[in-house]
């Protein structure tokens, strides 16, 4: 059961007859629809098509070379050197250089980088840090560190959408972003000629377009996977690629770890997974999924109201605010948590989305779980949550101890491991989901290509 877990992606094909596997066809146009913005972090479709990172995570979750062909670390992971691939060009024809990479990275994290400094040294990029960066090669595969051209050859500032990726921007008109194949892509010319991404499309409209043959790849939110299966849609799904977790502040009433513990024990994870996410998630009380670590089963997931009440003791806790990222289903989950807290004697209200939500006591968030290296995944989730943890040794016992000591602080309360899913039209061939559960659109071919 666990072997088939997560990182390698599962293609569920419903209702359609089995099609013999033939070699992918070149040509044709792929039509993709999304409810979000294709350029938005962390998972806008266009970003991965237009830009490359120094490294990438493959479908098995392993780190692979990308714009960097190799890397070395020394000084106890305080210094990393990444050697750049030669002969790579940006879409405007300019060469990829170490200086261009450094400029892009500096702009990306704008002084809030996980490293202390990054320098160009010949054709290498050197990162240094005051604290060890044991998983930098994994970190650099992340969406936020993709490389864009920020200074053109003539010294001017180019548009922000020039990268080295397999597709380049052709136009953006009326909410439709058109990308065309980069014939000189270092990864090889993609199979399809063009990709059209229709942005800000409601899920209902996406599904309608799919059924009418006007779209080839559309989104399936977690809570609608069951419905999509019932409608016999052809679905590509990657299980357990996101962690739904509650991030707590550590000041005010929540400076007291007993109160944070009371919150952790009061939440009914089963209700969130079964009702809100329609039984498509798996309850968890650990950061690392069971399939990745093998020891998530050691963390009890059951609600323990008496323990929650006991931890709260006689403390009077002021009303807490809960903010939820983005969409309606997250708001529903936040409301369910508020109800759970109330049952444990803690008052909480769900904050409306807006500027005030950033000051909430509790934030319900999704964290990507990309990769097969448990230590790197743990590191990345904690970094995203604003925490850090140094795991001296990546063996299971050390990793478990490190994760356990972190979770015992209850600053991050894991709730449910979630899948990602997409529905595919009949023309789509060879869709694979990459480690984060996003579709590898550059590897897709379409059936009726000339």
């Amino acid at each position: 059961m666990f072997r088939r877990f997560a990182i390698s992606c599962v293609l569920l094909v419903c209702a359609l007859p089995a099609v013999a596997r033939t070699r992918p066809h070149y040509g044709g146009a792929l039509r993709v629809e999304t409810a979000g913005d294709p350029w938005q972090l962390p998972d806008g479709f266009a970003r991965r098509l237009v830009f490359d990172g120094l490294t990438r995570i493959d479908a098995n979750g392993s780190v692979q070379p990308a714009l960097a062909v190799g890397w070395e670390t020394d000084s106890g992971d305080h210094r990393w050197e990444f050697r750049l691939r030669s002969s790579v060009r940006f879409h405007d024809g300019s060469s990829l250089t170490a200086t261009a990479v450094v400029a892009s990275l500096n702009l990306t994290c704008n002084g809030n980088c996980p490293w202390t400094a990054v320098h160009a040294v010949g054709s290498s990029v050197v990162f240094t840090s005051d604290s060890p960066m044991p998983n930098l090669q994994v970190l650099l595969a992340g969406d936020e560190f993709l490389i864009a051209l920020v200074v053109a050859a003539d010294g001017t500032t180019p548009p922000g959408n020039i990268g080295t990726g397999p597709f380049q921007v052709a136009s953006s008109v009326n909410g439709v972003l058109s990308l065309k194949a980069n014939e000189a892509s270092w990864q090889g010319r993609p199979f399809v000629d063009t990709i059209e991404i229709r942005a800000h499309r409601a899920i209902h409209d996406q599904w309608l377009d799919l059924s009418l043959g006007r779209a080839d790849v559309v989104e399936v939110p977690v809570e609608m996977i069951r419905q999509a299966q019932q409608q016999k849609l052809k679905i590509a799904m990657a299980p357990h690629v996101e962690l739904l977790a509650l991030k707590t502040v550590e000041f005010g009433a929540l400076a007291n770890p007993m109160v944070r513990g009371a919150i952790a024990f009061s939440i009914d994870r089963g209700a969130i997974a079964n009702v809100i996410f329609q039984k498509q998630g798996e309850v968890t009380a650990s950061v690392l999924p069971q399939g990745l670590s093998g020891f998530a089963c050691l963390y009890p997931t059951d609600r323990d109201l008496s323990k929650a009440q006991s931890l709260r003791g006689g403390l009077t806790v002021p009303t807490l605010t809960i903010a939820a990222e983005s969409d309606g289903v997250m708001q529903l989950a936040a409301q369910r948590i508020a109800l759970n807290l109330h049952e444990a004697g803690l008052n909480a209200v769900v904050a409306a989305q807006g500027p005030n939500s950033a000051r909430a006591d509790l934030t319900l968030r999704r964290f990507p779980l990309a990769g097969t290296d448990p230590s790197a995944v743990l590191d990345e989730v904690l970094r995203s949550a604003g925490d850090s943890l140094l795991v001296a040794d990546a063996n299971p016992t050390s990793l478990y101890k490190a994760e356990r000591s972190f979770l015992d602080q209850h600053t991050l309360i894991p709730l449910v491991d979630l899948p990602r899913a997409y529905a595919l039209g009949p023309r789509v061939r060879d869709l694979h989901l990459i480690a984060e559960g996003l579709p590898d659109l550059a590897g897709i071919s379409v059936e009726d290509a000339p």
Binding site: R3, S8, A18, A20, R21, R23, A184, L298
Partner: protein, 415 residues
């Protein structure tokens, strides 16, 4: 007191080691002993309640055996397993992750719980082989972490064509090992789905290899004494050979291909042949992925083409005709001179998108492909398929995971 306690443990361990050595047989002995050691290190001799749960793919029969081993080893450490009355609790979980099995013990002494873990090694893969009808069987001859485009068997081993280099494997006591590597070296961007082929039928000591836009030539062995293996590669748009130099082709196709192999121009920025053959034929070929010379009536051959539009076509007597019964074929096929049935079959890759690819043999008595074997599950994606030089087996490259490729030799058993 503590000294006595550990003396008892040491004695117990010694006895267990002596008796255990005589009994050691299965794969679980060592991890069971290691976990029991760790548990004893936490708990020391005494009474404990013991429970075991299995969250792994280990079979229930093996679980019983593992439980017995753990109980024996704990007993040897002086830990007596009690019923419900034991104050201390040992909860063992047989777990696993994507890479390996993990056995976990939670040792609870009062309110304090400590955890011990033992990694028990990678999870073994299963590879089933079909055994009905004309039976195809597969034997893995090589594995590689790099994509394998083609492989050529040599007297001393194999030469493997990878996207960036050629690798010479030589036979050793425990299989084939990479002996030398030669970079192809040319600055070029390979297409996605890269392909390549070998030919060694001109000279047994030399090989030629083709991949998109490149042709390479080199010796099939490193020489005596082993010297640096040198391969020469150059950019080339020349057509790739599609048939052996000693083609059996008859006048029914073209007289001159008796001595000259048929060659086809390959689209170096795509993954198919353009359809232009050399020497030119009397009919235009559509762009195609696969080409095979198929024995027909006595002494005659025809050409079988897997076109890029999914059709399988037979070029015979000057015309192209569609083949029925090939709807489930993938893009790759090769001819197997098995000696069974008509003597030669076409082995085609085939699969649904959700399952691993399979290989299946077909007879082609007329214009319909008739299955002559059960499908042989490949265990992954078949990325290349070609006939071995002697024709009695075919070779398949199977991608089992992103970075796991194997070259399988597929042969047939006549029933």
């Amino acid at each position: 007191m503590k000294l006595i306690r550990w003396a008892v443990v040491a004695l117990s361990v010694s006895i267990a080691a002596i008796s255990g050595n005589a009994q050691k047989s299965g794969p679980w002995d060592q991890p069971a002993a290691a976990l029991a050691d760790q548990i004893a290190g936490i708990l020391g001799p005494g009474q404990a309640r013991f429970t075991l749960r299995n969250l792994s793919t280990i079979s229930s029969e093996s679980v019983s055996a593992i439980q017995a081993l753990l109980e024996r080893d704990l007993k040897a450490h002086g830990i007596l397993l009690a019923g419900d009355e034991g104050a201390n609790v040992v909860r063992v979980t047989l777990s696993e992750n994507t890479r390996e099995r993990l056995w976990i013990a939670e040792v609870a002494e009062g309110a304090i719980t400590q955890v011990a873990m033992v990694e028990t090694g990678p999870i073994a893969e299963q590879h089933a082989v079909s055994t009905t009808g004309l039976t195809l069987r597969a034997q893995t001859v090589l594995t590689s972490r790099q994509p394998v485009l083609a492989a050529l068997e040599t007297p001393g081993g194999w030469i493997v064509l990878e996207p960036e280099q050629l690798v010479l494997y030589l036979r050793a006591a425990d299989g084939f090992h990479a002996q030398s590597r030669a970079d192809i070296g040319l600055k070029r961007t390979l297409p996605r789905d890269p392909r390549g082929i070998f030919r060694a039928d001109v000279s047994p000591t030399q090989f030629n290899a083709w991949l998109a836009g490149v042709e390479c030539k080199g010796p099939t062995s490193p020489g005596q004494p082993p010297a640096e293996w040198t391969v020469a590669c150059h950019s080339s748009d020349d057509p790739w050979p599609l048939t052996p130099a000693t083609s059996l082709a008859s006048a029914e196709i073209m007289e001159n291909i008796r001595v000259n192999p048929v060659t086809g121009f390959y689209n170096a920025s795509r993954n198919y042949f353009t359809g232009v053959l050399a020497p030119s034929t009397i009919a235009d070929m559509p762009p195609f992925y696969s080409f095979a010379e198929v024995p027909r009536s006595v002494g005659a051959v025809a050409w079988l083409i897997g076109s890029i539009d999914g059709r399988v076509l037979l070029f015979e007597n000057g015309s192209l005709k569609p083949i029925a019964g090939a709807r489930d074929w993938g893009s790759d096929f090769a001819v197997l001179h098995s000696g069974c049935g008509s003597g030669a079959q076409i082995v085609a890759s085939s699969s649904g998108e959700a399952a691993p690819d399979s290989l299946r043999a077909y007879e082609l008595p007329a214009l319909e492909a008739i299955p002559s074997s059960a499908p042989l599950e490949a265990g992954g994606i078949v990325t290349a398929l070609w006939s071995a030089p002697d024709g009695r087996s075919i070779l398949a490259v199977v991608q089992r995971a992103t970075d796991q490729y194997e070259v399988d030799r597929v042969s047939a058993l006549c029933n």
